[in-house]
Symmetry: C2
DNA sequence: TTGTAAGCGTTATCAT
DNA sequence: ATGATAACGCTTACAA
């Protein structure tokens, strides 16, 4: 591959001049500029980003740290959104390979060793050392679904609270008064804020809060299945179940059908996430759609803004969600309690 | 962040000596080595990979090019596998942001600009210019599911043919003789080889090939639905349907149930991919599992081998698959034809 | 408007 | 065993 020196020689000018042409400096005559550009074309020259980065102490690289890639159904959509934003920016995405179990591992050193310009962190809890290090090092960082901020760190999350609120409202309007909530563990913001949405929803419609209408289970279909079995054992079981995730809702629906009841006529069920399952399952699962693609786009836009403008204060971004109605909800059997 | 010069000063030796310590050269006395290592610890020095790359013309970076991230359910699993292998290697994964529609875009220039050491390409057909450029440039490359080879390019793919063969064998042994095949478009190796497996299976068991038992549709549940509707219209419809993808199988099952028939008692259905759908759908879908995680691991191992050893000839790797039996297959209604 | 020279953080070559 | 010095490909004062 041709280097800047090759171009300079070919065009009969100095390396500096070529550099100036590449970087669109104004103090180059039209004539030389043209000559240099021709040489660039001819030699198919492409500036070496690494060398450039060495002097500028940048890399035009956004680092990303992903935890539990496999179990998170959103990575690909998030990445697609990020790509979308990156494509217009000249940045590439550097997937940092970190051994989360190695106590010696330091993201900050890793980043500095590669001149990473900014970081996106997804799926790492705020209890973990990594996010805290990043915040402390004041490396421009955007967290996804982790409510952590710092001088150069912000975060983005879907509007979980409002999503569940919309669900409760929908069920209330259908006539439901006995509304249960099945949550995943609440170690992450997503879990906590969804639960808050449920509580707020009850309050808003003057419904009493019963702790036995709340089940906490693992974030999967098995968890939902067991949780629903518990709810069915209740003397006065709910007529509607709000789930903190589609995966949970799948298990809930199975438990209902295995108990000889039907969704939605006997019990209404709503999920969260609008994963592919939701549209494939029968009956189609009503759920809350998070626009992860958009989150991906925005996280990158914000991060690049932060990187390129040191005065840009790190944002807290809340991405709106939308209620997707399918066939898993209807009015309860008897509206009269 | 401390640089090698800082360490040298702190330890009272030359930069060269520090470099020798870092790179484990033998011509350093134990005494100086110890002294230098202490300074390194103290200053929390981490060698700058970018600067090192500039002189070594490497980057300890594997580039990856992903097409249609969103529609491919395997990206996250593939990436997880890749991470697994990368974690022991010192390489990071550089996600190249490419505008596939830009005719000016050149992967090769992109890679050389970033000193990318090797490339993994996934989801890009062999008709596309990008893989061909890579092969021609003799940049170490591994294609996933694209049967393209070159002096420095190999590929890896699941054993699609054998997977379908196992399916046909399974159905044959259950007593099925009227076995249909619903394929996605055959632009990709995966599609073609699966079809070949079907043909080979029929041949192996002396079953006649009927072209009206073969439906080609889009690679989704809609496509499968339409295809199955066509098959049901046949004067002598199949008793078993082999699908080239789980997504297709979902549609096939829906069409069967909408026609008032039942899976598997009336018609057996088998998918391919063992996506999460397969275990969630009712009845559970028998399918073929591809170990994408392992493919991810192996693709990286091979690539790094190629990068670090110029004489390593590019491999063609075929990853074994396994038949997963659930509830969507059983013996046909009447074994007598 | 153009070019010289120093420097970014390393490694490699070659003296000492 | 140790260290000067040049080089990797680029940007940037500063001089001309």
């Amino acid at each position: 591959m041709a280097s800047i020196t090759d171009v300079a020689k070919h065009a009969g000018v100095s390396v500096t001049t070529v550099s100036k042409v590449i970087n669109n400096y104004s103090d180059v005559s039209e004539k030389t500029r043209k000559k240099v550009n021709e040489s660039i074309q001819l030699l198919r020259y492409e500036p070496n980003v690494v060398a450039r980065g060495l002097v500028k102490r940048r890399s035009w690289t956004i680092g990303i740290l992903l935890h539990n890639i496999m179990t998170n159904p959103f990575v690909s959509e998030l990445m697609a959104g990020m790509q979308q934003s990156l494509s217009k920016s000249g940045y590439d995405l550097l997937h940092l390979t970190a051994d989360f179990n190695d106590p010696e591992y330091s993201v900050v050193r890793h980043c500095s060793s590669r001149n990473v310009d900014g970081m996106v962190v997804f799926g790492v809890g705020r209890d973990n050392k990594i996010p805290l290090d990043l915040v402390k090092a004041e490396l421009p960082t955007m967290f996804v679904d982790t409510d952590l901020i710092g001088r150069r760190a912000g975060y983005i999350t879907a509007d979980n609270r409002n999503g569940i609120l919309m669900v409760v409202e929908h069920l209330y309007e259908l006539g439901h008064r006995k509304i249960a909530f099945v949550s995943g563990f609440m170690g992450y913001v997503a879990g906590r804020t969804r639960f808050e949405g449920y509580q707020q929803g009850l309050k808003q419609f003057d419904l009493p809060y019963h702790s036995n209408y709340v089940e906490v289970c693992s974030f999967d279909s098995m968890g939902g299945y067991n949780a629903m079995q518990n709810l069915l054992k209740l003397p006065d079981p709910p007529t509607a179940v709000v789930c903190a995730a589609d995966a949970i809702a799948i298990g809930v629906m199975n438990a209902i059908s295995d108990a000889g009841l039907r969704v939605p006529t006997d019990i209404s069920v709503v999920g969260f996430d609008n994963t592919a399952f939701a549209s494939i399952v029968k009956p189609g699962l009503s759920t809350v759609n998070q626009n992860i693609f958009s989150i991906g786009e925005r996280v990158v836009n914000q991060l690049i803004e932060m990187v390129e403008n040191p005065d840009h204060s790190p944002p807290i971004v809340v991405e709106p969600v939308e209620l997707i109605l399918r066939e898993s909800t209807c009015a309860p059997r008897s509206t009269t309690q």
